[in-house]
Symmetry: C2
Subunit: 453 residues, 2 copies
């Protein structure tokens, strides 16, 4: 029989067990953080009907969709009725609209599942990746106080992820729109163009943005464009930025409203005890999507600015207008966990070096194998993850296996020790070994794991 | 704009948050159990290339496959290159073959992911469902001792799942084949047919099986068929069944080998301290698939026999012959978590009645909202999942929300209490309320959660 090449499909992150353990911990930490704030889990199917998924007219998204078709439907020459989700927002909208009468509002949900995009395969770009989203959905209204909770969750989660310093940048789209008004960009289409240029600030630099703003299409006076960029490039403490923005308030109600919302977010973050070094108002944060209507967020790792935003989101006016007449305003954020994990692993911040097993019970003497199983059962009953070696190979090979697998402890027992009622406990992590009465083994291992001697 | 009907695709289990919490706990329990025995996590992509996935020639499986195609590939009129996995065994085989040189053997992996089958939609049948698998894969050989570990894991997991009594049935395919030999069914094809008939024993009953065995195709003498059924229908303690089987040993080496393996499994289970009431040798367990070559397992819930086997598996000779020349024998089991959860929920064994939040901090007086946020931050810092109500609705409505959401505690604080430095802690679960100094709130909640007063 000729062999088929065993090959992972391109564009996915498939991990070896040690890295998978690290990734699992990573996801668990995010989940624990989301639950700490009382978000409720939702899982939706990997596919949605094409009708539901592709409501938005065309664009980049639809080009990247994966269609799904069963053998039967395919043979009948039917069009695909299903497609893989490309984000968690559309499934959320469908879920909330479908189950509206069974949900309590404000509805706080988290969802951590994989999404699919038919991206061109390239390093660091994934066709299948985890998104870890939270959203709070109101019915008719949703107080701006929820906008302050989002950065508090980000702070909590990223501190727990232990990935070094990070800064949550936030801004307000109303403030930005008001700023455009103030600078005489009244027309909606021109504002959209201006927003898009400002979004490029980091990439193309201030001069080029001024050039585009004063060029054809937007046609802002060059001096106004410069002053607009001054406003958008404001730096300093949050209080200083608020003061400088306050000084620009004038005829635009939108601007005033945006400013008041920024103020509310600042007040909320203070009350929620998020240290100020972790967040800052950044008037240059625009977020490309039209979807967002108020607060917007982007989060950067201080030591890895090149990674880009690792947690983004914002406030929107209406979640599910395609599926229900109910008005469902919301605010949410998303962590692209696969990409973030991949980049932190590449940067050496995350190391896959652990095992799920804490202990390997070795097979020193096959005649004692019933004892080895019993020792393992005792350790497991004490809540210690334990593996038994059943292959009667050389003990050096067994210890090498434990070491390679990242298992910290090895238990050895020969007939002498059995007679004495003791075992040898090797701490492979520390290169130490202890003679331990068998009856005290579980307690001893627990103590060493918890850091006592 | 006309609305699109928000509808979950047919044949999937989508849960409301409370049930999703229960399901999440269900999966976590299984995962914890698998890790307790030192199994390592693996996740594979939802799709595999068609080449890899569809190595087996035809059959039911291929008819049920979902093919996946990106917009681009579709427009070019190409054949689908990807398909959704229909189980976790094929991805495991591909994974082990692909990463063979990076894995330590025996390789102990667990995998808990969704799989996809284009089933006809009907109640209790799912097109998308979780499988929770463990397998131990050896290189060249794998001692039979691992066969005893599987029921020990099943015992551990199902005890933790807390679903009432259950019985792990196991058998040995070599013993069964040897039995056929003993009863003069030597020919492989006839054996296969006989196996299939025996697999129907539960459904069609003893008499009909005897009829088929002595009918055309198998053509066993009627008396022999009856004696074969006597052997297969053996009941009693494990020791009694072993004794009765032992008495049948004779000219078949296969039979003797199977019997020795059953003996080894029994000895292992004893050493692993699995109480004997939880497992029994059942000579009628055949498992349809040709795949299995030694020990086979099926697990039944004592109170819900109609549910069928809730955890099945067995020993196989070679995992990945399609992808590698290495010989990779293994043993594994699988829990169909979606179906099991669904049926236990239908039977009322599992109730979705909890929340991720332990505490709701209510909004009694909007002027105090900064305090409410601070109280929430204090509770969260103490590791207590806490939600803040930001909508300044009537307090009765807020409490109703908490109750409906399954949140056990509500914290209330008005200006009087603020002045006194206390809060009111309502235990909605018990219908009690306590006046608590704010500084002691977290400790008090923790105490109530842990069951102290």
């Amino acid at each position: 029989m000729s062999l088929i090449q065993a090959k992972t499909p391109p564009g996915v992150m498939e991990l070896l067990p040690k890295d998978q353990i690290a990734f699992q911990r990573f996801l668990d930490t995010i989940r624990r953080g989301y639950e700490r704030f009382g978000f409720l889990p939702v899982e939706t199917p990997v596919f949605e009907t094409v009708d539901v998924l592709l409501t938005k007219t065309g664009g980049e998204t639809e080009k990247q969709v994966y269609f799904v078709q069963s053998t039967g439907a395919r043979q009948q020459g039917k069009d695909a009725e299903l497609a893989l989700r490309f984000d968690l927002t559309v499934p959320l909208a469908r879920y909330v609209a479908e189950h509206e009468h069974d949900l309590a509002f404000p509805f706080r949900r988290y969802q951590m599942q994989r999404v699919y995009r038919g991206e061109r395969a390239q390093k660091g770009r994934f066709r299948e990746f985890y998104q870890c989203d939270i959203d709070v959905i109101g019915k008719d209204t949703l107080p701006v106080a929820y906008d302050a909770e989002m950065p508090a969750v980000i702070y909590h989660v990223f501190r727990e992820l232990d990935v070094g310093g990070f800064t949550i940048n936030f801004n307000n789209r109303k403030m930005l729109a008001g700023l455009f008004e103030t600078f005489s960009i009244e027309d909606g289409e021109r504002r959209k163009l201006a927003l898009r240029e400002i979004d490029k600030l980091d990439k193309i630099g201030r001069d080029k943005v001024i050039e585009s703003l004063s060029g054809e299409g937007i046609g802002l006076d060059r001096e106004l464009a410069t002053r607009l960029l001054d406003a958008i490039g404001l730096t300093g403490t949050n209080a200083e930025i608020m003061a400088a923005l306050g000084a620009m308030a004038g005829r635009s109600d939108l601007f005033a409203q945006g400013l008041a919302e920024l103020d509310a977010v600042l007040a909320g973050l203070k009350a929620l005890k998020v240290p100020e070094e972790f967040y800052r108002i950044n008037p240059a944060i625009a977020r490309g999507l039209d979807y967002y209507t108020g607060t917007v967020y982007e989060t950067f790792l201080n030591d890895f600015p090149g990674v880009g935003s690792v947690c983004s989101g914002g406030r929107y006016d209406n979640l599910a207008s395609h599926y229900t007449k109910s008005r469902l305003p919301g605010v949410g954020i998303s962590i692209g966990a696969t990409r973030l994990f991949y980049q932190l692993k590449e940067a050496g911040v995350i190391k896959g070096d652990g095992s799920t097993s804490a202990v390997l019970v070795t097979q020193l003497d096959p005649a004692l194998s019933a004892d080895y199983l019993a020792i393992a059962a005792e350790l497991r009953d004490a809540g210690i993850n334990t593996e038994v070696q059943f292959e009667a190979s050389k003990i050096a090979k067994q210890l090498k296996y434990a070491d390679r697998a990242g298992i910290r402890f090895a238990v050895l027992m020969g007939t002498d020790e059995q007679a004495r009622g003791t075992v040898t406990l090797k701490d492979l992590g520390k290169g130490e070994q202890h003679d331990v009465p068998r009856a005290e083994l579980a307690e001893r291992v627990r103590g060493l794991i918890d850091g006592q001697r």
